[in-house]
């Protein structure tokens, strides 16, 4: 990854020198090297502070929607980050031409807080960016594991057992909204859960209002979530959110034959209609 860091700094310097971008979205060191912080380099001198290591797990596409439309941005994009960018392009939140995508093929990223290696159990395991302008390293071999095998256990349990599982997990939610705020595709302003007229979910973290928040959020993400896992990593209460959004993603893929965030020319499934779409839900 030192090679990637070096190349990232070089490309950032070039882009900032020529003024072709206003900012390069990358990472800098935090209070120590194992806790990097997302960082927008704006001057050439900022480029020296850029780092890239196995702890640079954050989906930087999250920050793209903070910029004025039309701002030229370069972004260090890992696999899932690139897919999130694709969804943002599909949804016209950003123009392809306004992005310089610095693709980073990588695997073996680590969660410093939990001391775990991040893999297909908690992410979509998209090791290679699906869209890029400049690739900062060689493509990695595509993994032969499925990002949905982690669902097998839950899927094998009956309806009542699964409902019990989610009621237990979601009662732990403290409604900090780290999950929503970490998500690159949760950009609604205002978010339904912040509305007071009407109030869709109570402010207090009762199970009922937690269910209202999470179930609605997962369905708002159907066909859009790119399985980056940032929400699950952000959660201070270790709620396995990835199990839910993986299930929603899997169902969408099976019903509509399309994977979220792969091709900028596609339209996300929930805002599109094809004659051959399943009408199971109506029957």
């Amino acid at each position: 990854m030192k090679g990637i860091e070096k190349r990232l700094r070089e490309e950032a310097k070039k882009l900032l020198e020529t003024g072709s971008v206003s900012a390069v979205l990358a990472f800098r060191d935090g209070y120590d090297g194992d806790h990097p912080v997302p960082f927008a380099a704006r001057d050439v001198s900022d480029a020296d502070a850029i780092v890239f290591n196995e702890y640079c797990t954050h989906n930087l596409a999250r920050y793209v929607t903070e910029y004025e439309p039309g701002t030229k941005i370069a972004i260090a994009a890992k696999g899932a980050d690139s897919r999130a960018l694709v969804v943002l392009i599909q949804e016209e939140k950003v123009k392809r031409d306004d992005l310089v995508i610095l693709g980073i093929p990588c695997s073996g990223m680590k969660d410093a807080r939990r001391g775990t290696v991040i893999d297909e159990a908690t992410t979509g395991n998209t090791v290679n960016p699906v869209i890029h302008d400049i690739m900062l390293a060689d493509q990695l071999p595509e993994p032969d594991t499925s990002p949905y095998s982690v669902l097998t256990d839950l899927e094998s349990r009956g309806h009542d057992a699964r409902w019990k599982f989610w009621r237990k997990e979601l009662s732990r939610c403290i409604r900090c909204y780290a999950c929503r705020n970490a998500c690159p595709l949760c950009y609604c302003d205002p978010c339904f859960v912040d509305q007071t007229e009407p109030r869709w979910a109570d402010k207090s973290p009762s199970l009922e209002s937690n269910l209202m928040f999470h179930l609605t959020r997962f369905y708002h993400l159907a066909g859009r979530c790119v399985d980056c896992g940032d929400c699950s990593r952000a959660c201070p209460m270790n709620i396995p959110l990835y199990l839910f959004h993986k299930k929603v993603a899997k169902e969408c893929e099976e019903m509509f034959g399309q994977t979220a965030g792969m091709d900028p020319e596609e339209t996300p499934v929930m805002v599109d209609f094809k004659v051959e779409d399943s009408d199971e839900i109506l029957l």
């Binding site: 912080v37 403290i174 705020n181 952000a234």
Partner: protein, 348 residues
């Protein structure tokens, strides 16, 4: 008079404490070790560095019912929920977190209006502090004059030494509680020595330090600086920092009604949320995230000092440990000081 119990028998002491009142203690749960209302002694643990959240939940729960009501044809039939007066025990609290309670006292009962929900519980709670025996790289409680085995504000100080828990009362409340717990053994002279040695050893532990001297004086000068935009750039504006923090205390009051029945509740709120300062008019003075981060840092390190004579931070490090993007408040304060001093130099 030190009392002791083998650490392996901790469940006995927990069960005994549960009989004395509502017990909040560190419990091993899916999120890690966190303060919970204890219903099962087997789940209490002292095997942790610090808990996910601070112990403020024992006095300031995330949801507090204030009023229950029912709509009838005649109008609203409402009844206040009486503030709780049950005796409580708070077990296994690290010294920095014990200090947080005194800081919150300034707000909730420091002057003018007294919050009965907070005060009742504080008055009725016996606090058993739990000394640190190691330091990690994130804590900075030493910056506030808090020691690893500091007993300020504790009714009982507890240390874990070899396989034993040694407890020593620091107040009358503490003495009374220890006397009432049958399962504890009287400590031998040897144990008294071990207790003293543990406290001394903890006294030598050094956390990282930030200079807190006159920080309240420095911060206002850089209020308009672009410093805040830079520092706030990675912030996600979630509420993790405020919800794990032992000194954050902002709350909201809302009515939760279903058909004709409902309750008025006080719930934790967060200055980091986008709608925290949203006015009924629709105006929002803090729409940008740098304004909110600036507010949080200034509130803790400047405004609270002006209003209550103490910094509203105990350096527990939780906000840093749990921030999804690794923002470090200690680092922000240090850089703010540097910015303030270089600005002063430039202005001269």
């Amino acid at each position: 008079m030190v009392k002791k119990i083998e650490h392996d028998r901790i469940q006995e002491i927990i069960a005994a404490l549960m009989e004395k009142g509502i017990l909040y203690a560190p419990v091993e749960d899916e999120e890690g070790v966190n303060f919970h209302l204890v219903d099962d002694p087997a789940r209490v643990t002292l095997d942790f560095y610090n808990t996910v959240q601070g112990p403020k939940c024992a006095f300031f729960p995330q949801t507090e019912e204030l009023i229950r009501y029912r709509m009838t044809h005649e109008g609203a039939d409402a009844a206040e929920v009486e503030p709780d007066e049950s005796p409580q025990v708070l077990f296994g609290v690290r010294p920095c977190d014990v200090r947080s309670l005194a800081i919150m006292d300034e707000l909730f009962c420091g002057g003018g209006i007294v919050d009965p929900y907070w005060k009742n519980r504080r008055d009725n709670t016996t606090i058993i502090a739990y000394a640190f025996d190691t330091v990690d790289t994130v804590d900075f409680y030493g910056s506030f004059g808090i020691g690893a085995a500091d007993d300020t504000g504790a009714d009982i100080l507890m240390v874990k030494v070899d396989g034993d828990l040694l407890l020593d009362a620091r107040t009358e409340k503490g003495t009374a509680l220890l006397a009432a717990l049958d399962g504890l053994d009287e400590a031998a002279a040897e144990d008294e020595k071990r207790f003293a040695a543990a406290v001394e050893g903890a006294g030598a532990l050094e956390t990282r330090r930030i200079d807190t001297d006159c920080v309240a004086r420095d911060l206002p000068g850089i209020f308009d600086s672009e410093f805040w935009q830079t520092e706030a750039a990675p912030c996600l504006n979630c509420g993790v920092c405020t919800f794990v923090c032992p000194t954050c205390h902002c709350f909201d009051i809302t009515d939760e009604t279903l058909f004709s029945k409902g309750r008025r509740v006080k719930t934790w709120d967060s200055c980091m949320f986008t709608d925290f300062t949203l006015h009924a008019s629709g105006h929002n003075p803090r729409t940008k995230k740098h304004q909110r981060l600036r507010q949080r840092v200034n509130h803790k390190f400047s405004y609270y000092v002006t209003n209550c004579d103490v910094i509203s931070c105990v350096g527990c490090g939780r906000c840093t440990r749990f921030c999804p993007v690794n923002i470090d408040i200690a680092g922000i304060v240090e850089r703010a000081r540097k910015r303030a001093s270089s600005q002063q130099i430039n202005n001269q």
